[in-house]
C-alpha cells in the first residue's frame, strides 16, 4: 500500500469524472456499411471450452474433535474442570478471561454427541462447536483495499485527491470477497467488451485478452483501444487479479474478448454495435458488456441482442448518464438485456443514472478505479483512472454474470439474469420498497448469488 499512497498524486492527477453520453448518432440514423464478422482467431473462444470447473469445497464448519463450553456463573472453576475431566475428555483447557473451556472430545465420540451430552448437564450454560474461521479471499492488487470500494467497502474516506474525498458507508459494495471464496471464475468463460477497444498491453489486461479482437470502426482485426473507455470497462469486469499489480477485476479468472465499435472520439453507429454483438456471440462469448447505448429504439439492434441471448449469452448494458427518465438502447431491451444503473459508495443511486421500468439492477458507478492506456494518462502517471458512469456499473454486473456462468455453466442466460436480479440488495427500500425504476431490484450482491443459502 506504500506504493499506492506514494503514487496517489499521480493517480489523482489522472482522475476523471466521465459521464458518458450516448454513442448513437444524433439523428438515430443507421450506418449502411456492412461488415463481415470473419473468423481469424487462431484459437477461437468457442473452441476453448472445457469441462466445468469445480466449486471450491468448504472445509467442515467446525473442528471434528473439539467443543467450547461455558458453565453457569455460580459454578466454581475447580468443580467445572473436574466435571469435564469426569466425562473422560482427553484434554481440557480453560480460557480464563472469558471463563470458557476448550474441550477435546473423547475418541470415537462425535462433536454432536458430545454437545448433546454436555447440554444435558444443568451446570453448563453453553456448549458449542469450535467453528472454523477463514480469511475472505482478498486479492493482493495494491489498489484493491484503498480504492476499490465497489468490491469491498470498509467505510472511511475515498481519497481520490485533496479536493475529492467522499466519506463512504461500510458495506455499500458488491460483497465480492465472500463470493470469491466460492469461485474466481473460469478462464474459459469469456466476457466480450463491446466498446472503444482494449489496451491489450496494459499490465492488468495483457494476460486476460483472448485475442486481438475485432475492430468494426476501422474494419480490421485489431481492437486496440484508441480512446480509454473500453480499457477501463474491461478492467472493471476482469482485470488481472491477485497479480500484485494495479486493480482487481470482478471476474478474477475470466477472460476478455475485445470488440471495438467506436472511433477514437468514442462515436459509433448502431450497425457497428450490431456487428460487434453478433461477432462476439459467434466467437463463443459467454457474457457481453455494452457500456454504451443510444436514444433510439431500433429493431435491428434488438434483434442482435436477441441473437446473442438465444445463444445463451448474458448481455449487460448501461442505462445511461443523463439523469433522465428513459433507459438507453440496448439496455432497454428488457427480455434480452440486463440494464445496469449506477449507485455510489453510500449505496445511493447516482444522480446521473437514467431510470425507467427497464432498469434491472444497480452497481457502484461513482469514482470507480480501473485501468487506462498509458498513452492516455501520460508518461509518468500510473495507467489507472477513476471514472463515474453507468458505464462503470455495467461491467461489474457483467463480471458477476461471468462468475455465475463459470460456477454453473449449465444455467441458461435467463436464469443468470434472474439470479442477478433476485439476489440484489434493495438499497432504496425506504423511498421505493421493492423493485423500482431507479435501482431496479437493487444493488447487486455477489455473495448472495454465489455463496450457498443455508437452510436452518
Amino acid at each position: 500500500m506504500i506504493m499506492a499512497l506514494e503514487s496517489l498524486p499521480k493517480v489523482a492527477a489522472t482522475a476523471l469524472i466521465v459521464l458518458y453520453s450516448a454513442l448513437g448518432t444524433g439523428d438515430g440514423s443507421l450506418s449502411l456499411q456492412t461488415k463481415s464478422p470473419g473468423r481469424t482467431f487462431v484459437r477461437p473462444a468457442s473452441h476453448l471450452r472445457v469441462e466445468r470447473p469445480l466449486l471450491r469445497r468448504r472445509a467442515p464448519r467446525y473442528a471434528a474433535n473439539r467443543v467450547l463450553v461455558r458453565f453457569r456463573p455460580e459454578i466454581d472453576p475447580v468443580y467445572a474442570e473436574g466435571l469435564l475431566r469426569s466425562y473422560g475428555f482427553p484434554a481440557v483447557r480453560r480460557i480464563g478471561a472469558i471463563g470458557v473451556y476448550n474441550v477435546t472430545t473423547a475418541a470415537g465420540v462425535s462433536v454432536t454427541e458430545t454437545l448433546a451430552m454436555l447440554r444435558r448437564n444443568g451446570d453448563i450454560e453453553l456448549a458449542r462447536p469450535d467453528y472454523r474461521a477463514r480469511l475472505a479471499d482478498v486479492p493482493n492488487d495494491p489498489y484493491f483495499l484503498n480504492y476499490q470500494y465497489a468490491l469491498w467497502n470498509r467505510g472511511g474516506v475515498l481519497d481520490i485527491s485533496p479536493e475529492i474525498q467522499p466519506q463512504m458507508t461500510a458495506g455499500a459494495d458488491l460483497k465480492a470477497t465472500r463470493a470469491w471464496d466460492i469461485t474466481h471464475g473460469d478462464s474459459e468463460t469469456v466476457i466480450a467488451i463491446i466498446d472503444t477497444g482494449v489496451d491489450m498491453e496494459h499490465p492488468d489486461l495483457a494476460g486476460k485478452v483472448v485475442s486481438a479482437g475485432r475492430d468494426f470502426a476501422n474494419d480490421d482485426m485489431d481492437a486496440t483501444d484508441d480512446h480509454w473507455h473500453g480499457t477501463h470497462v474491461a478492467g472493471v469486469a476482469a482485470a488481472d487479479t491477485d497479480n500484485g499489480d494495479g486493480v482487481a477485476g470482478v471476474a478474477w479468472d475470466c477472460r476478455i474478448l475485445p470488440v471495438k465499435v467506436t472511433d477514437a472520439e468514442g462515436n459509433g453507429f448502431y450497425s457497428w454495435i450490431i456487428d460487434g454483438i453478433i461477432w462476439a456471440a459467434d466467437q463463443g462469448a459467454d457474457v457481453i458488456n455494452l457500456s454504451l447505448g443510444g436514444d433510439v429504439d431500433d429493431p435491428f439492434l434488438e434483434d442482435a441482442c436477441k441473437y446473442a441471448h438465444d445463444k445463451g449469452i448474458v448481455v449487460v448494458a448501461a442505462t445511461g448518464n443523463d439523469s433522465l427518465s428513459g433507459v438507453l438502447f440496448p439496455a432497454a431491451y428488457d427480455s434480452y438485456v440486463l440494464a445496469a444503473a449506477a449507485s455510489d459508495y453510500d449505496d445511493v443511486i447516482a444522480d446521473f443514472s437514467n431510470y425507467g421500468p427497464e432498469v434491472d439492477v444497480a452497481a457502484p458507478g461513482v469514482w470507480i478505479l480501473g485501468p487506462a492506456p498509458q498513452w492516455y494518462v501520460g508518461t509518468g502517471n500510473l495507467p489507472y483512472l477513476f471514472a463515474s458512469g453507468t458505464s462503470a456499473a455495467s461491467p461489474q454486473v457483467a463480471g458477476m454474470a461471468a462468475l455465475i456462468k463459470s460456477a454453473k455453466p449449465e444455467l441458461p442466460a435467463d436464469d443468470i439474469m434472474r439470479i442477478i436480479r433476485y439476489t440484489a440488495d434493495d438499497i432504496n427500500r425506504t423511498s421505493f420498497p421493492g423493485r423500482d425504476d431507479h435501482s431496479g431490484y437493487g444493488r447487486i450482491n455477489m455473495e448472495r448469488a454465489l455463496a450457498p443459502y443455508i437452510i436452518r
Binding site: 468448504r58 464448519r61 470415537g108 434472474r418 433476485y422 439476489t423 448472495r448 443459502y453
Partner: protein
C-alpha cells in the same frame, strides 16, 4: 408416489402372508416362537459421500416403529415393522441449483417400513450360529423452507428417501436361558436420495443428491431378554467403522408374545 406405494403394498402383502404362515405353523403345534408384537426404536448414523461430491457428509436416522414378529418353521423368525423415521443430514450442499443451498436444518420426517429375518443355522454347545438379514425403507415427507433475504419471495422444498439392506452372521450364547446375548456382524448397504427444489418467482431448479449403494460393515452386541413369559426386550448397540472415523447404531425393542 407410485414408487412409494409399491413398497408399502409389498410390506402389507408380506405381513398378511406371514400371519397366515405363522397361524398355520401354530395350528400344526410346532415348537416355535409365537407371534409377538410391540414397539421398537432404532438409531444409526452413516458417513457417506453423495454422488458428485468430494467431501463426506453424515446421515443420522432414528426410527420409531410398531413391530411384529412371526415364528416360522425351522426356527426362522420374520419381523416386520412400520413407523416414523427422522433423518438428519449434515453438510449436504446443493450447488447445482440456481441459488446454491446448504442444508443445516432439523431432521426430515418420513415413513419407515422394514422386514428382517433371523434364521438359526447351527447349534454347538451353548452357542448358536445363525444368519440375519434386514431391509428398511424410509419414504420421506417433503418439507418447505422460506428463502429469505431475496428481492422476491421464494421457498425451498426437500424430501429424502433411503433404503438400507443388511445381511450377516449372528453368534448367540444360549447359556443364560432367558437372556440371549449375541454378536452380530453385518454388511450394510445403503441407498439414499435427497431431492431439493427451489423457487424464487420465475427462477426455479431442482437437484437430487444420491448415494448409490454405500457399503459398510457393522459390529454389534445385542441381547434378547425375556423379562416375563410374555414380554421380551431386544437391545443392540454397535459400530460401523470407516476410514477416518466410526459410525454407530443402537436399537431397543419391547415385544409382547401372543
Amino acid at each position: 408416489m407410485r414408487a412409494g406405494n409399491t413398497p408399502i403394498r409389498r410390506v402389507l402383502v408380506l405381513c398378511a402372508g406371514l400371519a397366515v404362515a405363522a397361524a398355520q405353523v401354530a395350528a400344526a403345534g410346532l415348537p416355535i416362537k409365537p407371534l409377538a408384537a410391540g414397539l421398537s426404536y432404532e438409531n444409526f448414523s452413516r458417513t457417506v459421500v453423495w454422488k458428485g461430491d468430494e467431501a463426506s457428509s453424515k446421515i443420522q436416522a432414528g426410527l420409531i416403529s410398531a413391530r411384529a414378529e412371526f415364528g416360522l418353521a425351522k426356527g426362522i423368525v420374520v419381523g416386520v415393522h412400520a413407523g416414523l423415521s427422522l433423518t438428519d443430514f449434515k453438510d449436504v450442499s446443493f450447488t447445482a441449483l440456481p441459488i446454491s443451498l446448504q442444508y443445516d436444518g432439523s431432521p426430515l420426517k418420513g415413513f419407515a417400513l422394514g422386514v428382517d429375518i433371523d434364521a438359526p443355522l447351527h447349534k454347538f454347545s451353548d452357542f448358536e450360529i445363525g444368519a440375519t438379514a434386514r431391509f428398511v425403507y424410509s419414504i420421506g415427507m417433503s418439507k418447505t423452507w422460506p428463502l429469505e433475504g431475496f428481492a422476491v419471495e421464494g421457498e425451498a422444498r426437500g424430501s429424502s428417501n433411503w433404503l438400507e439392506a443388511a445381511v450377516g452372521p449372528r453368534l448367540s450364547y444360549l447359556f443364560f436361558g432367558r437372556v440371549v446375548p449375541y454378536l452380530e456382524i453385518c454388511a450394510r448397504w445403503l441407498r439414499a436420495d435427497f431431492e431439493m427444489s427451489e423457487t424464487l418467482e420465475d427462477l426455479s431448479g431442482a437437484e437430487k443428491k444420491l448415494v448409490r449403494g454405500d457399503l459398510q460393515l457393522s459390529f454389534a452386541l445385542g441381547a434378547d431378554a425375556a423379562v416375563t413369559d410374555r414380554i421380551v426386550i431386544e437391545a443392540k448397540a454397535g459400530i460401523l467403522p470407516y476410514t477416518g472415523g466410526v459410525n454407530g447404531l443402537v436399537s431397543l425393542g419391547v415385544l409382547y408374545k401372543f
